[in-house]
Symmetry: C2
Subunit: 128 residues, 2 copies
DNA sequence: AAATGTGGTATCCATCCGGTTACCGCAGGG
DNA sequence: CCCTGCGGTAACCGGATGGATACCACATTT
């Protein structure tokens, strides 16, 4: 038989993770983008459509409904001539922003120096 | 016509975001979990399987291949009796950890006080 | 009158994606 | 000898999902 499984060697693997819980909040296409664009302040449907050019109305609508149901955004109907809808982050939504910022940070580094890609963290046996 | 679209009122919406770029790195089911469990140090296939109980071998394998292709993890075949495979984060992979940490933080808060859910950040018109 | 914009919904459809199952060679233990 | 565990791969398959398109009522603008 091979090496025994180290159940918690050197450093224990992180305990059961709330990761999945949180990831659920930004599941679905464009969800992170929507939150990102709302992080600057309330925004209306059409504005979001223009902010995220390649999103379809159908998906944007679906995403906003879901995020509303999850308590991430609020939906306010403004009594304007043609009623318009304004969306904003809830407190919970605000909490997501730092996480997304962190992600964006990585994204920026990626674009700046793509030479990092493929560089191993430590010398290792050849990959197959 | 309704309200004019504010193209960049009060606070400009964040510029075109590298968000999508980075999100691509952790796309696919369980990808964040894999990275999370590797963040504690190198780990072998079977260990990861046990770390993430509900993942199937097929998906874990696929995810690891993809992450390797993207330069997020390295794969090392150890010359043990039955050859075993050990996976570890690359430098790029390490960069993702803080982002995932941020996500986990939100997840923790979620579990601790779920009363935050549904609370609006500011008083607003009733949702439809 | 017609066009445009606003905020969506309905329908259709292809695609992807992940779960399930089966199977593989190899080595060591009982 | 046979079973188990390791580290996968191959084939199948169903549901979810997101894109495209069409359409809606209403109000202003031209």
């Amino acid at each position: 038989m091979g090496l025994p499984l180290r159940k918690s060697k050197v450093a224990a693997p992180p305990p059961a993770c709330p990761l999945t819980e949180c990831m659920g909040l930004l599941r679905g296409a464009w969800a992170p983008n929507v939150i990102w664009h709302l992080s600057a302040g309330p925004r209306r449907f059409g504005e979001l459509r223009h902010d995220i050019p390649r999103i379809s109305a159908r998906v944007l609508s679906a995403r906003l409904r879901e995020l509303e149901a999850k308590g991430v955004v609020t939906r306010a109907v403004l009594a304007t001539s043609p009623p318009s809808a304004e969306y904003a982050l809830t407190d919970l939504g605000e909490e997501l922003v730092p996480a997304i910022h962190a992600i964006v940070e990585v994204g920026r580094k990626l674009k700046q120096n793509p030479k990092t890609r493929g560089k191993a963290a430590s010398p290792r046996v050849r990959t197959s």
